[in-house]
């Protein structure tokens, strides 16, 4: 018997965006408050998992046509590249740099290269989590 899960699907449509925004907030807040790439990535993955629960894997794949293995690889390269940029400047590996920039809308903001590293971590976490869930979910 096919149950009608219209309530779950409607709630998911609202809640997913709240989770995604919260994930992005957690990711950007990581430098000064609890959070960072790892939890941010897990939260993003949980939003995708909620979509998978409310709809099904095939629908989610057509909404988000992403190859998560490639995403993991890109995350690794981003993290490694941030750390390895120090080689160009001949300072020890993993040396980070930061400065204050005046951005439109945000005003004076400090930008730190650790953020790029965190973005790499974020991509790896999302990629790995969803690869695990997808491969187990599609397994017959």
């Amino acid at each position: 018997m096919r149950t009608n899960d219209v309530m779950l699907q409607t709630a998911t449509k609202v809640v997913t965006f709240i989770i995604l925004v919260f994930a992005i907030h957690i990711f950007f807040a990581g430098h000064y408050t609890p959070g960072g790439g790892f939890v941010g990535g897990l939260l993003t993955a949980s939003a995708v998992v909620l979509l998978m629960l409310a709809f099904d894997i095939r629908t989610v794949k057509s909404i988000l046509p992403i190859n998560y293995v490639t995403m993991t690889a890109i995350g690794l390269i981003l993290a490694l590249g941030t750390a390895a940029a120090s080689i160009v400047f001949d300072v020890p590996f993993f040396t980070h740099a930061y400065d204050y920039f005046t951005l439109p809308l945000f005003g004076e903001t400090s930008l730190h290269s650790a953020m790029l590293f965190d973005a790499g971590v974020y991509l790896v976490v999302v990629g790995v989590t969803i690869t695990i869930i997808q491969t187990i979910g599609e397994d017959e």
Binding site: D90, P92, F93
Partner: protein, 493 residues
């Protein structure tokens, strides 16, 4: 170039990440994996050259001052091991082309090999005890992936045992690091080497030293903790087995060498005597296993255990001859084990079985293979001009100079058993009545045979030219026996 010592870690990591993007394109996978391996070998050789000329290279990541950041240190010992492991991984990549199979190549085989290289090179280079744990996990994760790779029934069965054992020993590792941190308040190895002698409570430090021996003993397969190794290593296909047999246990051996020469020298009478006794028992256990089996893979696998015992016996003596000998023997053993597994791989492919009793007469059809095997077998046993001899000679000398002279006698006797076990393969597989062999295309036979011959040639050069390599070896031994050079290199800023 202050970051030179990181290149053997960064290059394979970068290439592994690139290779993850197109798993199905075999030609690209092979080419890029080979390029990555070759670049790593080049970087590691240049690193060893720099370390030999300019002294110990050290860098503390993120420009932090030494005990606060993660230090990476490359002294001669770790540079030598990085060179050796990079060369072996490169040869394993070449050997995999004809032998691993298209299906495996298409499911992230080469990325896993390169990640294993990252873990091994990192574990050899790190100067921080928790970072050592992380790199050991990197190499273990890659080895989990490789041991089940292909998903055959024996692989699945053995992978469960292998993973359970390693998770147990890794959690023990974390616990031991926590003990060490609560006693000393630091995790940087050079800083630990400064702080440990200042602590008067040597009792608790001895306990931690023995715990580390148990942790690394699980990884290195020493006497009572080797039980997981023979069946686990027999499961995966030959190129993976060669990689495991040549590199994984040696990381454990290196970790014991490093901690027992740099950190835990406060109670040598107890810890090093224990290490010596365990090493001898490991040799005995390995010799029994090597003679007991008619399975070619099992015979060579038990020879890994024997070699671990021989190397650790040299370390336990804590004198110049013993330490130099074990460094020489460690490098020799990594090379010769990879070469032997390659040879065994060709033999098992030709006969379609690894049972000695079903083999015979291969010398008539494949004389080149036969003589190469004989040279490698003599090298393993330590027949004089070959590479097994100088290391074992120094270890035996170290034993006679030290307190455990009876250990040297056991090592000499074990050499005979090693020789017997490998020559038995020669007698069964190469002599006697020819047994029908499976057809093997000339091209793929050559693709497997050429890396093998080159590797055997490298071991022969290493043995015959031992005089050339001795300055490197004794330089490495000097740092182990006199850690002030190591400490000064880390705290230079």
């Amino acid at each position: 170039m202050s970051n030179l010592l990181l290149f053997p870690i960064i290059i394979p990591l970068f290439f592994a990440a690139i290779l993850m993007m197109f798993p199905k394109n075999i030609r690209m996978q092979r080419t890029i994996a080979a390029i990555g391996g070759a670049l790593t070998v080049a970087a590691s050789i240049y690193l060893a050259y720099t370390v030999y000329h300019d002294g110990i290279q050290a860098v503390t990541l993120g420009s932090w001052p030494a005990p606060f950041g993660i230090s990476m240190v490359s002294d001669l010992l770790s540079a030598l091991l990085v060179v050796t492991s990079s060369i072996i991984t490169l040869f394993v990549i070449f050997y995999s082309f004809p032998s691993i199979g298209v299906k495996r190549e298409q499911s992230f085989y080469y990325p896993a090999v390169l990640f294993l290289m990252v873990g091994v090179n990192g574990a050899f280079t790190t100067g921080d005890i928790f970072n050592l744990f992380v790199f050991v996990e990197v190499l273990l994760m890659a080895s989990y992936a490789l041991i089940v790779h292909g998903g055959e029934k024996p692989q699945l069965r053995e992978a469960i045992k292998y993973i359970v054992i390693n998770i147990f020993s890794s959690s023990l590792f974390v616990g031991t690091v926590a003990y060490l941190y609560s006693v000393t308040g630091t995790l940087n190895m050079a800083d630990l080497a400064v702080k440990i002698p200042q602590i008067e409570e040597t009792g608790i430090l001895t306990v931690i030293a023995v715990l580390f021996l148990i942790v690394f003993g699980f990884k290195a397969a020493i006497f009572p903790l080797y039980f997981w190794l023979p069946s686990a290593y027999a499961a995966p296909p030959i190129p993976i087995l060669a990689l495991f047999g040549a590199l994984l246990t040696k990381v454990g051996v290196y970790a014991i060498m490093r901690t027992y020469t740099l950190l835990f020298t406060m109670n040598i009478d107890y810890t090093h005597e224990l290490l010596g006794i365990i090493a001898i028992l490991t040799i005995l256990a390995g010799s029994i296993g090597a003679l007991a089996y008619f399975d070619v893979k099992k015979i060579i696998i038990y020879n890994i255990i024997i070699a671990v015992g021989v190397i650790l016996f040299g370390v336990s003596q804590m004198n110049e001859a013993g330490i130099d000998g074990s460094i020489f023997y460690l490098v020799h053993d990594m090379l010769i084990k990879a070469a032997l597994f390659f040879l065994i791989g060709i033999v098992t492919v030709l006969f379609g079985t690894s049972d000695l009793r079903k083999m015979g007469g291969l010398i008539k059809t494949r004389p080149g293979l036969g003589w190469t095997y004989l040279i490698a077998a003599f090298g393993l046993a330590g027949i004089p001009p070959l590479s097994g001899f100088p290391g074992k000679l120094l270890i035996v000398q170290g034993g006679f100079e030290g307190t455990q002279f009876w250990g040297s006698i056991v090592i000499l006797a074990s050499s005979l058993l090693v020789l017997l076990s490998v020559v038995r393969i020669f007698i069964y597989a190469f002599w006697g009545e020819p047994v029908e062999t499976l057809p093997l295309a000339k091209r793929s036979y050559n693709q497997m045979f050429i890396p093998t011959v080159v590797l055997v040639a490298i071991t022969v050069i290493f043995g015959v030219g031992a005089e050339l390599f001795m300055p490197l070896i004794s330089g490495a031994g000097e740092v182990l026996l006199n850690p002030t050079a190591y400490i000064d290199a880390v705290f230079k800023e």
